[in-house]
């Protein structure tokens, strides 16, 4: 675990160590204070030596000042170290996530990744602070105060031989008892909140079936369970304070008895006894601090584990961070691929990596550079999966994909992805202006180039309709645009890349038919020589394609042009018929 987390501390290792060292010094200065006080009582007061009292008082003040300085310094250093560590962790996580293959990434939801990068990092940071400050402080305090007590009177210090194990035992037992109860409570709390969430989402179903009372009953039961377990868990913790204070006061009484006898018999001075009482407090409080520290560490353990899960996930060699900087790459990018021809050679693919559960099986076809390929098939037939293999978002299991005659695995990812543009089913725009979003395709694109791409994508007119035109700011996710407008922007963004192969994954589904037709016409007119792969629900959109590939349950069931397929492929014919009749 340390090996995985340690690199994130880079640059903040020294301050973190110093935070521990300074807090140790804080404690060392602090523990001398009661001892100095004993001198005041036993020599100063006993002998009426005013200058001595003032001198020792000055010493004490000095110690307190030094302790304060060390403590303050430690707080600052620990803050720097802890937050630096958190920053390092976030960077490491972010890099790791960006390095994941999609096969790995698909296993995590956005929400869970977000939690890991925020809450879990915060909790780990807390744990780190606990270790470098609280834990160090508690341990040093325990040792130093015990040593002082032994130094003052070794016989009396024998009391701690009993007190420390008793309190430590009690605290450990309580922690062990409390942990499973808290876990159960949190589990039930999650379940209960899930119920509320479900109720909100399914609100209209609940209302239309008049199930309000039923839902209430279910919720009340869940809430009752939460309360029961919360009471049980906190009930255990409630014992802690009384037990600690009982051990503390028991020790005090014992020390006063034995110490009182020693003083009366002249083996010990009264001031020493008073300072001894102070050390009792310090020793037992440090024990309680230890138990708090451990509780804190246990609480954050789950978070640390979740972070480790990401950090220990192998980054596939495939997605190793690009070595070269971008502009350089784009300068030589597409040139490394001769043309836009695309060839699948007996390709198998499975999301689970299981050869018996193939998503795509034995795909074998070829299209020439500049041709248009249409992909047709029902939901789950593997169309989207197929196109995602081309820019290597996923890796084939068997067989070979060639772009421009070269195996995609032999081309660097950067070059490959510069040559292949893809407009995804799910449109994602990023916060920033429209122009900034479009320049994702080509950072140096001029306004003319942008305008040209937008005209092809039929986006120019509506963009100019906005008061600020291309400088219109899109909120996160581009919320103030309609679905069709977003799709057209995404298309323009892809066109700006001037790719060899353009992949359109159902990417004009929200665009009305007339505009859709205009887009297709413009593409054909303006972009001769670019290979286009189109996935479409409407047969009409792919009818004119040079070749159409019909997929059914991950297998090719037809390949050819519209007329050929209509004559020979029953699945295709069925789709044509149903669309002709079944969709308005």
């Amino acid at each position: 675990m340390l090996k995985t987390l340690a690199p994130s501390l880079a640059g903040y290792r020294f301050v973190s160590w110093m935070a521990s060292v300074t807090i140790a010094f804080e404690v060392l200065f602090e523990v001398t204070i009661p001892w100095l006080m004993a001198d005041i009582l036993d020599r100063g007061i006993a002998e009426g030596d005013l200058p001595f009292i003032l001198q020792r008082g000055g010493w004490m003040l000095g110690m307190a000042a030094l302790s304060m300085a060390c403590g303050g310094l430690s707080a600052r250093l620990a803050a720097l170290g802890g937050t630096g560590f958190a920053r390092g962790l976030r960077t490491a996580l972010f890099d790791r996530v960006q390095g994941f293959s999609f096969a790995t990434l698909d296993r995590f939801t956005t929400g869970s990744l977000l939690t890991r990068l925020t809450t879990d990092v915060t909790n780990t940071q807390n744990a780190f602070q606990i270790v470098i400050r609280m834990l160090v402080r508690a341990v040093v305090m325990l040792v130093a105060a015990t040593l002082m007590a032994v130094y003052i009177n070794p016989d009396l210090a024998g009391v701690f031989v009993v007190a420390i194990p008793v309190l430590a035992g009690c605290l450990t037992a309580l922690a062990l008892l409390a942990y499973p109860r808290f876990r159960e409570m949190l589990r039930r709390l999650d379940l209960m909140n899930a119920r509320v969430q479900e109720n909100l989402v399914g609100l209209r179903v609940v209302r239309s079936y008049v199930r309000e009372e039923f839902e209430k009953e279910q919720f009340f039961q869940a809430a009752g369970g939460v309360r029961e377990w919360q009471a049980r868990a906190e009930g255990v913790v409630a014992v802690e304070a009384p037990i600690s204070s009982l051990v503390l006061s028991g020790t005090l009484v014992a020390v006063l008895w034995f110490g009182g006898n020693l003083v009366v018999q002249g083996w010990m001075l009264p001031g020493e006894l008073v300072s001894f009482v102070s050390y009792i407090g310090q020793i037992l409080i440090s024990l309680m601090m230890l138990s708090f520290a451990f509780i804190g560490l246990v609480i954050s353990k789950a978070s640390v584990n979740r972070i480790m899960e990401i950090l220990e996930q192998p980054v596939e060699a495939l997605e190793a961070p690009p070595a070269r900087s971008r502009p350089e790459a784009s300068a030589i990018g597409p040139e490394t691929l001769a043309d836009g021809s695309l060839e699948f050679e007996h390709v198998d693919f499975s999301y689970s990596g299981n050869p018996r559960n193939l998503t795509l099986a034995d795909l074998h076809f070829r299209i020439e550079s500049g041709q248009v390929l249409g992909l047709v098939g029902g939901t789950g037939s593997g169309k989207t999966t197929l196109v995602q293999l081309i820019p290597r978002l996923y890796e084939v299991m068997a067989g070979t994909i060639r772009v421009g005659g070269r195996d995609v695995r032999e081309v660097s990812l950067e070059d490959l992805r510069d040559a292949v543009a893809m407009v995804l089913q799910k449109n994602v725009l990023f916060s920033g202006t429209i122009a900034e979003n479009l320049r994702w395709g080509s950072p140096e694109a001029t306004l003319e180039e942008i305008g040209k791409a937008c005209r092809i994508a039929q986006a120019h007119d509506f963009i100019m309709g906005f008061p600020e035109g291309y400088d219109t700011d899109l909120g996160q996710g581009g919320v103030n645009l309609s679905g069709g407008q977003k799709q057209r922007l995404c298309l323009a963004r892809a066109l700006l890349k001037k790719p060899r192969i353009l992949i359109l994954d159902d990417s004009t589904s929200a665009v009305d038919m007339a505009t859709d037709a205009r887009i297709r016409a413009a593409l054909q007119r303006e972009l001769q020589g670019m290979t286009v792969v189109v996935i479409a629900q409407r047969i009409a959109s792919v009818r004119e394609a040079d070749a159409i590939l019909v997929l059914d349950e991950g297998r090719v069931v037809g390949f050819g042009n519209h007329e050929e397929l209509h004559a020979s492929c029953p699945v295709y014919r069925e789709a044509c018929d149903s669309q002709h009749l079944g969709e308005i």
């Binding site: 972010f94 309360r227 690009p322």
Partner: protein, 630 residues
């Protein structure tokens, strides 16, 4: 240490006093427990303070005078130490009782609040939920209740405990030595000022951190969501640069916040050491001048150690208590939301026909329903009117926000058993019509009648029981398939559930699931396709077996095989019922008794398929594909 978390730690209630009073009001049902809580707390605090005071007699009367005596009598020390032990024991017991009782009280209050909130949610009008996201409402149950939990279980008791203890210590200090107390009070004043100063400085960084964290979260979310786009555009380095900038911004603010947050403890702790030192020196001087004895000084020194603790505590609790109060206020706001109004008195009852063909109420399900219309006077006999499914809209106008009209003077009728298709583009008002029929929303003008009865006179729950709904976004609940289907009618037997599934064409695929009807549908259970979910929703409506149906066909692309299954299932479900269907498929529309073409909240055309085609209007254009529906 600062409590880092997603909650806004600087939120303040609008009306602090009112919120505090209302929170206190929550304690009322726990009256006798509260008395015991107060007793336990008082006992605990008193014992603790008094126990320390006993140090004085221990030293002054039972140790110091005996020093150097040849044959000292230690029985006095034994006695006073026994008293001391007893006092501490009682204190421990009091503290324990207080904690345990307080847990019962605080968890009880939380339970009560959760129940009230959930019950309120079930009765709030639908527009309430349109005005805010589910996340906002959820946050009442999670963040705000959590804050309450912390406040009730920790913050408030600690606050009271700390205050009591400080007062107790202060009193005892005064008793021991007014001069030294003056010193302690001066130091306390300085500490309080320092805490305020630091709190103000740290809140600057806390706010900065909150903003920076928000920006960072936004960036992460965007990048994770759009990861495929990032990759296909080779944008990783640019994205990473932006992330690093925001990351550093968070670190900077976070370091500031942590510094001020964690510097408080060493400062306060060591200021109390300064107090200890000055007290020891001054006490020593006083002792030399014989105005103070050793025992008093010993006890006083012990007090100075825990005099400052409450100040630190209070300062730490203040922010979290205030933000918890703000959360409490939001919870109360939710509880104060006005409930859905229902002045309907007409109810739905099962009926049979007696020998003369007259309707009589039946205690069991007969498949025949009637509206039970209470008589004009309380003694008047209620009238029974057979539920037939005759629905009329007369000049109905409606808007969701009282400004932009969604329906403008719509009139339509559905005779019993008729199938009415609503056709039109998104936003034309199709869904709104169905939302008015089940009274999720109230109409602004016009009238809707159901079997001749104005809708408003029918009790809402009975109205909704008579309507079956299959919505586009089929919502299923966590639980087994069978439980989900039975949601339609809780008393349905297993056979009835399975029959309904057969009718809806869902039985086939259900039996192919790993555990058939007992298969768990949940996050980690089986994932159903959109089409299968739709089939289950139809089956659920079939279990309910209502006389009138509202169907919203799915627009999402469903594979042709499932689509055929759904179509058949829907057809069978619709047989013999009055049906309003928001249609996206031509086959559905064609077989309807009447088609309503809606545009901009008005009915453009009405008629059956042939008539509308002959009209060569909007419907004709839709049909021939010149316009698109969605």
């Amino acid at each position: 240490m600062p409590p880092p978390g997603p909650r806004d730690v600087f939120a303040r209630p609008r009306d602090t006093l009112r919120t505090i009073l209302r929170v206190l009001g929550c304690f009322r049902p726990h009256g006798w427990r509260l008395v015991l809580v107060a007793l336990g707390l008082g006992l605990g605090t008193f014992s603790n303070v008094y126990g320390t005071y006993l140090l004085k007699p221990v030293f002054n009367d039972h140790i110091l005078p005996l020093m150097g005596q040849p044959d000292p009598d230690m029985s006095g020390l034994v006695r006073i130490l026994l008293v001391m032990g007893g006092v501490y024991l009682a204190g421990g017991a009091g503290l324990y009782a207080y904690r345990v009782l307080m847990i019962r009280v605080s968890t009880g209050i939380l339970l009560q609040l959760r129940r009230e909130m959930f019950a309120r949610l079930q009765n709030l009008p639908i527009p309430f939920f349109d005005r805010r996201t589910h996340g906002q409402t959820m946050s009442r149950f999670t963040n705000d209740v959590d804050a309450m939990r912390e406040m009730l279980g920790h913050g408030l008791p600690e606050f009271v405990h700390s205050t009591l203890r400080m007062l107790g210590v202060f009193a005892m200090m005064l008793v021991l030595s007014p001069v030294l107390t003056l010193l302690a009070v001066a130091m306390l004043g300085f500490m309080a000022w320092l805490v305020r100063f630091l709190a103000r400085r740290s809140s600057f960084y806390f706010k900065g951190r909150q903003g920076a964290l928000g920006a960072l979260n936004g960036c992460i979310e965007e990048m994770v969501e759009g990861q495929k786009v990032v990759r296909v555009f080779n944008h990783q380095p640019i994205v990473r640069r932006r992330f690093e900038e925001l990351n550093e911004e968070v670190r900077r603010n976070d370091a500031g916040a942590w510094t001020f947050g964690s510097i408080l403890m060493p400062l306060m702790g060591n200021l109390s050491h300064v107090l200890f030192a000055v007290t020891a020196a001054l006490g020593g001087i006083l002792a030399v001048r014989s105005t103070l004895d050793l025992g008093t000084l010993a006890a006083f020194l012990q007090y100075t150690r825990n005099f400052s603790m409450p100040v630190t505590h209070l300062s730490q609790q203040f922010n979290s208590i205030m933000s918890a109060l703000a959360g409490a206020e939001r919870i109360f706001d939710l509880l104060d939301e006005p409930e859905e109004q229902d002045s309907g008195t007409i109810t739905l009852v099962d009926v049979t026909r007696d020998g003369d063909g007259r309707l009589v109420e039946s205690p069991v399900r007969t498949g025949l329903w009637a509206w039970r219309i209470p008589g004009d006077s309380p003694e008047g006999r209620p009238e029974l009117r057979l539920l037939e499914g005759d629905v009329r809209f007369e000049e109905v106008s409606f808007s969701y926000d009282q400004r932009t009209p969604v329906l403008r003077g719509i009139s339509l009728f559905a005779r019993p058993g008729q199938k009415i298709a609503l056709v039109g583009s998104t936003g034309a008002g199709k869904t709104t019509i169905t939302n008015l029929l089940n009274r999720f929303y109230e109409i602004d003008q016009g009238e809707i009648t159901y079997d001749g009865i104005p809708l408003a006179r029918i009790r809402k729950s009975d109205l909704r029981r008579s309507l079956g709904m299959v919505l586009q976004d089929t919502h299923l609940f966590t639980g087994t398939v069978r439980e989900n289907l039975r949601y339609g009618r809780l008393e349905a037997t297993d056979e009835e559930v399975e029959q309904a599934a057969c009718l809806a064409n869902a039985d086939g695929f259900i039996r192919h699931l790993p555990q058939g009807y007992e298969t768990e549908l949940s996050a980690d259970g089986v994932n159903l396709s959109q089409g299968q979910r739709q089939l289950l929703a139809i089956a659920r409506a079939a279990v309910a077996d209502p006389p009138v149906l509202i169907l919203d066909e799915a627009t999402s692309s469903i594979d042709t095989r499932t689509e055929a299954l759904i179509e058949k299932g829907m057809d069978r479900l619709m047989r013999g019922r009055t049906v309003f269907v928001i249609a996206h498929r031509l086959s559905t529309v064609r077989h309807s008794d009447a088609i309503l073409v809606l545009e901009h909240g008005q009915i453009l055309e009405r008629g059956d398929h042939e008539a509308l085609l002959a009209l060569e209007g909007r419907y004709h254009k839709l049909y021939t594909g010149v316009f698109e529906l969605e």
